[in-house]
């Protein structure tokens, strides 16, 4: 509630629309779960797992939010990385899908939610870490908002990956999981609240190219092509 309130109060819900949608979903889900406990206690577990499973998928919106703020459309890093990012996302989606599918082949492992959480959590954590490394490599400054959102989600997703794998490895871990899982989620919400407490967006990046620069680049490419054909003519007379 504090996170949603802060996003609304600071007007950050506009630039961080996807993130705000996820925060609203978490809030609405929590209210719905409490409502179910109060009025339909029999449907609690079904409601809980449906909301949780949807939440896992919606976390990809937060990943996308970090990406679009770190590498804004039209910026040079976006042009360089967008294809790579698409390939990595496809690869990770296949890994996540494959590992989730393989859950069905092990009758001893029965938690479908754990399988979904660890597969998607792994993909999300790798995407976030990759983005942070790429940002560091290109010297892109991250503001407190994007940095906090990214690190908060990354820490939570990595804990979820390990946690959900361990409970299927050893069911005796379940009591710890029931503590670790909500605690890490609350920690993520606390980090996010800290991140959006003040408005600190990423510093502006140069977007697009000027027509003069395009013309200059065109002339350079023309000259370079002429040089290559001359060299080819000289080497292969």
């Amino acid at each position: 509630m504090c996170l949603v309130g802060r996003l609304l109060f600071k007007g950050l819900w506009r630039p961080y629309g996807y993130f705000f949608s996820y925060a609203v979903y978490v809030l609405a889900g929590t209210i719905a779960i409490f409502g179910t406990i109060m009025f339909f206690p029999g449907g609690y577990s079904t409601m809980y797992w449906v909301i949780e499973s949807l939440s896992i998928a919606l976390r990809f919106l937060v990943v996308w939010e970090v990406y679009r703020h770190t590498f804004p459309r039209g910026s040079a890093p976006h042009r360089v990385l967008s294809r790579t990012f698409a390939v990595v996302v496809t690869g990770l989606a296949l890994v996540a899908l494959g590992s989730f599918w393989s859950y069905a082949t092990h009758p001893a492992l029965y938690s479908i939610h754990a399988a979904l959480d660890r597969s998607c959590g792994f993909a999300q954590a790798v995407m976030i870490l990759g983005m942070l490394f790429a940002a560091r490599y290109y010297g892109i400054q991250l503001g407190r908002n994007a940095w906090g959102i990214a690190v908060g989600l990354g820490v939570y997703a990595s804990i979820a990956t390990a946690n959900n794998a361990v409970i299927d490895l050893a069911h005796s871990f379940l009591p710890y999981w029931t503590i670790l899982s909500p605690l890490s989620f609350v920690a993520m919400l606390a980090v996010w609240t800290w991140a959006v407490w003040v408005e600190a967006p990423n510093p502006q990046m140069a977007i697009g190219t000027s027509p003069e620069l395009d013309a200059e680049f065109g002339r350079w490419v023309e000259g370079w092509n002429r040089t290559r054909s001359t060299v080819r003519r000289v080497t292969n007379p």
Partner: protein, 190 residues
């Protein structure tokens, strides 16, 4: 089972990675380019403007000389010259650091706002960087310029950090006040 172990290990590894990133904190904001250029006009830094320290600390040529017994004398001479140059560079970096610290104190005397936390951070950077530079200097004297080349290259990091922080401090002054600061700084340095 293997898949689960894979996820457990990778999950822990990712967690450690994110923990390390969070401990480093968000990257400090770079001051705007006009403040940086004004700063470089006001303060002259000799050591950090040295363009290619990697070349200075590269031992490839020394190893080539050393591989030929006839060139051992030249190798010794080469090493000695590089040692002197490296010591000169480290001394310039120390002097840059002191100049930056003096300039920062001067800016605060001129009324530029700074928090106590920033001042403690500056003090920490100055003390640690001076200690590192002294240690690097001693290592160059004792072991030569090529042994701890990587640490020596990193010695300028503190000066860069300090110069960014000081340029950021200058950026808090309205642009119209930069000329006066330049004049006062030149007068105080004279």
């Amino acid at each position: 089972m293997i898949g689960l172990l894979f996820f457990t290990i990778l999950g822990v590894a990712l967690f450690i990675g994110f923990l390390a990133i969070s401990l480093r904190g968000a990257s400090k904001s770079v001051p705007d380019s006009s403040a940086l250029s004004a700063f470089s006009q006001i303060v002259t830094l000799e050591g950090s403007s040295f363009a290619n320290p990697s070349r200075l600390l590269d031992d490839t040529e020394y190893q080539i000389f050393l591989s030929n017994p006839d060139l051992h004398k030249i190798a010794r001479q080469f090493r000695k010259e590089r040692q002197e140059l490296a010591l000169l560079w480290i001394s310039s970096l120390s002097s840059d650091l002191k100049t930056l610290w003096r300039f920062r104190k001067f800016l605060i005397r001129q009324g530029v706002p700074a928090t106590l936390g920033e001042e403690f951070e500056t003090l920490r950077v100055v003390v640690l960087s001076l200690m590192l530079l002294s240690a690097v200097k001693a290592s160059i004297r004792i072991c030569g310029p090529f042994v701890f080349a990587r640490v020596t290259r990193r010695a300028r990091h503190g000066v860069d950090q300090m110069s960014y922080a000081t340029a950021g401090l200058l950026g808090r002054v309205p642009r119209t006040g930069w000329a006066e600061i330049e004049r006062n700084w030149a007068r105080s340095a004279a």
